[in-house]
Subunit: 303 residues, 2 copies
Amino acid sequence: MIFSLSDYLSTVNRLVNEWTANNFIVSDSHPSKKLYDSMLYSLNAGGKKVRPTLLIMCYNLFRNLFTNILHPALPYAAAVEMVHTYSLIHDDLPGIDNDNLRRGKPTNHIVYGEATAILAGDGLLTKAFEIFLNSSLHNNIPINISCEAAFELAKAIGPDGMVGGQYADINNSSEKPDRELTDFIHIHKTADFISVCAKIGAILAEAGRDDITRLELYGQKIGLAFQITDDILDITSTTSEMGKTHGSDEKNNKLTYPKAYGMEFSMEKAEKLTEEAVSLLSVYDENADPLRSLATFIIRRNG
Amino acid sequence: MIFSLSDYLSTVNRLVNEWTANNFIVSDSHPSKKLYDSMLYSLNAGGKKVRPTLLIMCYNLFRNLFTNILHPALPYAAAVEMVHTYSLIHDDLPGIDNDNLRRGKPTNHIVYGEATAILAGDGLLTKAFEIFLNSSLHNNIPINISCEAAFELAKAIGPDGMVGGQYADINNSSEKPDRELTDFIHIHKTADFISVCAKIGAILAEAGRDDITRLELYGQKIGLAFQITDDILDITSTTSEMGKTHGSDEKNNKLTYPKAYGMEFSMEKAEKLTEEAVSLLSVYDENADPLRSLATFIIRRNG
């Protein structure tokens, strides 16, 4: 059977949405009903689900399971998508990037108002940890393993990881593009979180320490390639392909890879990172094909 | 020796600040230095430290230890103060309550700007989970116990707890005060988090299930009394006593206890909750005196 990445992505997409819908149930008369609506609105706004897919692929590398609604890593996959969604909702806020469009749809604060959008982000972030730590949701994953995974998540997305990268991203005031700072931003804002999704998949599968480290590094490389590609697409792609406003990096005076290193070098760098990521997988057999395919997809996508 | 609550509070205050300072170290040239500055600014803005004190008191009820910098519950106490501070920073944002003053000082977004304030809140929330789950910071507390505590924290402060209460608080559009909704807001916005601080203290001390449940209930009662008292003080106290803008509930059209139930009933209710909380402690000896004293302090304070 020929492996299809788009089938894999759409299966994870469907399962994550299904799992979340089953676990986000509040009655119509509940005082927080609209808060849940706003969280679900952004969760279901049609992202590619790269992070949950990566997490499940890394789990499956060691425990090759049929990916269905009972998959042991699915709650964690849904939770990392919640973290990703929280980061986008806060990123889009009037106080940060002030974006009206995300994934081709009005952003959360445009639909639900700014106060609700702030709280929807806070709620999704907190809910993600609740899911990681809720042993009653876990199917055959020991609590100490979940706990280790949750700790790695917290480190990767906090002030020393994603939030720190995001801070540097919006507070750079350098006139000329600073390469060191650009690297810092890209690694922390984007690669840390993508990398930890790979690492978490391996941790949950109780892979060996070498495997966990290898997949973390694979994740760092594809994560950095992902952000460089995003920067390139922000320049070359149209608004409808991207699903967000074209040229918003320029508008927001962001430090981008093409700005710091030039377009040609950026494209080469993304290619090189992808090759390095794939070559890290050479110790694995065809069970790693989904991860090989995902690495290439990340720099070949057009939106 | 006569027990002094103010000594206890100031000791915890000092230790939490000291622990946090030791664990929030970034170099001056670090790209996220100002993000850390902004988090520390609000952490050190002089709160009463009721939540970390409650957590340590509940721990000490079962493991009567000298409260010093090596106290096993101190990292968790510092972490709940981070959660509390995050909630205040986001609450004060222009998109939510738009408050300029908190604890007598300019709010985070006034000093650091809105974008940094959003991320400072996000960073503090995430860091709190990192601390709960970082076994290398834990002194004699098994990881499964930390994990249970972190799970309870996530439940209490997420969309079914504090964030849900906060949502209902700012999105009530009822013309006449709705008592049921007022109760929902007070329980979830404030009491859930205070209650879980008590519960976490007992969990960390590996108290029995009955003790954990009893302290959780004690926390619910003093938590609700705390919010009712806050509502009363917003009307009766001056801006300088409160450290935040007097009459802001009225300005923001908040559903308050006095508005829903009248001032006299509100004062009686706060007294009654405090009595009930104290009577729950009747099974304990004088080791519970700090908790008895704290319950009374909560309704007697004037700011």
